[in-house]
């Protein structure tokens, strides 16, 4: 049951992800990207990481992609972009780059051995909120705080850049 569900979800994810790239209309791309996030969230749930699943939806699907869509709507580039065709050179270059990436991935994954989970010691609650929190604030305290600071800096920087772009009134 879980296996078939996994394969179904995985293929759906891949399909949606492909559609993101293939779709001509950027709005469709965004919508497929959102679908991709959903299927990934479903994967998280399969892995018993509900918190991650919810946060994935809230943050990525609920906020970031809304912003993407927002920007797309503003510039409304869907119609303009469709007319343009890319040159042969860029197509070839794209194909080569993609192929190389594929090769690297295969090479990297070829020798990977999945460690089998020991059913006796496996804690099914490992992905739950409480455990996650505990781990973050004990074992990974320093990286977590560093990431937080990094985020804060990035945010402040984004605000500064945004402000300087838009309004002469404030700065």
């Amino acid at each position: 049951m879980t296996d078939s569900l996994f394969f179904f979800l995985a293929s759906l994810t891949l399909l949606c992800a492909l559609m993101v790239v293939i779709s001509k209309n950027p709005v469709y791309s965004v919508i497929f990207l959102i679908l991709t996030f959903f299927t990934i969230s479903a994967h998280y749930i399969l892995l018993n990481a509900q918190f991650l699943a919810a946060v994935n939806i809230i943050v990525y699907a609920g906020a970031i992609m809304v912003l993407f869509l927002f920007v797309l709507m503003f510039i409304n580039s869907g119609k303009n972009a469709q007319g343009k065709t890319k040159g042969v050179l860029s197509k070839v270059a794209g194909a080569i780059a993609g192929g190389l990436l594929f090769l690297v991935l295969i090479a990297a994954l070829k020798d990977v051995q999945l460690e089998a989970v020991n059913p006796d010691t496996y804690d099914s609650q490992v992905g739950m909120v409480k455990n996650l929190g505990q781990v973050l604030f004990t074992k990974y305290m320093l990286p977590f705080q560093l990431v937080a600071v990094l985020f804060l800096v990035a945010m402040v920087g984004a605000v500064m850049i945004g402000k300087r772009e838009a309004g002469e009134q404030n700065f």
């Binding site: 919810a54 939806i57 609920g62 906020a63 912003l67 869509l69 909120v129």
Partner: protein, 351 residues
Amino acid sequence: MDSVDLIYKAIYILVIFGITLLIATYSTYFERKIAAFIQDRVGPNRAGPMGLLQPLADAGKLFFKEEFIPGKANKVLFILGPGIAMLVASMSSAVIPFGDMLIVGGREVYLQAIEVNIGVLYIFGVVSLGVYGLMIGGWASNNKFSLLGAIRAASQNISYELAMGLSLIAVLMLSGSLSLRVIAEQQAGFNWNIWYQPLGFLIFLVCAFAETNRTPFDLPESEAELIGGYHTEYSSMKLGMYLFAEYINIFVVSAVMSTLYFGAYNFPFMENLRNAFSDPVLGNNVVTLVGVAVMFAKIFAFIFFFMWVRWTLPRFRYDQLMKLGWNILIPLAILNILLTGGGILLKDYLF
């Protein structure tokens, strides 16, 4: 989970869905009646007794109105928009505990469709998706007023989600759980969260208004400016679904507010009532049923409040709305978190 439980869940989900739809349908009626009463009018009174069939007439009319897709619209997304709005709206009532536990034939039956241990996050996630319906619909209409409405909806929802989430965190700090059922259980009797979180509730209330696009935050569809906003180009049932989704959202948000801050199905002296019965099963069931009634009373009170406010206040302007969200509500919510944290620490220290 055995099959009886599954059947029970299926029935319960159907019932909740039905009730949601019914309440949403009749919300339109109550909206019109309440508006009328506030404005010294009588409101719809010619369709059926006291106009009670008015929502059905509206629905019937909308069903049989011409389906219209504007020539320049993006057909797929144009149809998808109201669908998403409706789907997302009706999904969110799944995790709300409308009542405590009933004991039927020795079996404990919880009056909640799905118990998820991250119920709050679930609701939050689903609500945050609601904006897609408006955005996609508004964009697909290929109408500038719709597009403006869609853009307003997007920025408004994102901004107010933040403040909403932050105000929620304070509640979560108190309860220590993301499960709505646990949060509800902790507020037994009269131990409601509102007593500890008045500021948080206020922020949440304001954000709830904004998230459901109700006056004074109804900018995405403000009639005087954008005609109908994102649903300007919609006719027939697609419009109906948008309107429906709005009322379902109101219902859900009212339910969430009752659960988080007003003790859900809890009411004062419920223990006294429980102890008044000699049979504990009977006592439990009576208290639960009264609890359900209390829960719905709270929800209706909130729905009334939503409508009452709508017919009283002028709406904000776009930039003022943003200012209120980012400059006032978010700092206040953070302050609230700090205060709550301090309070909890102080309590631990003192007692």
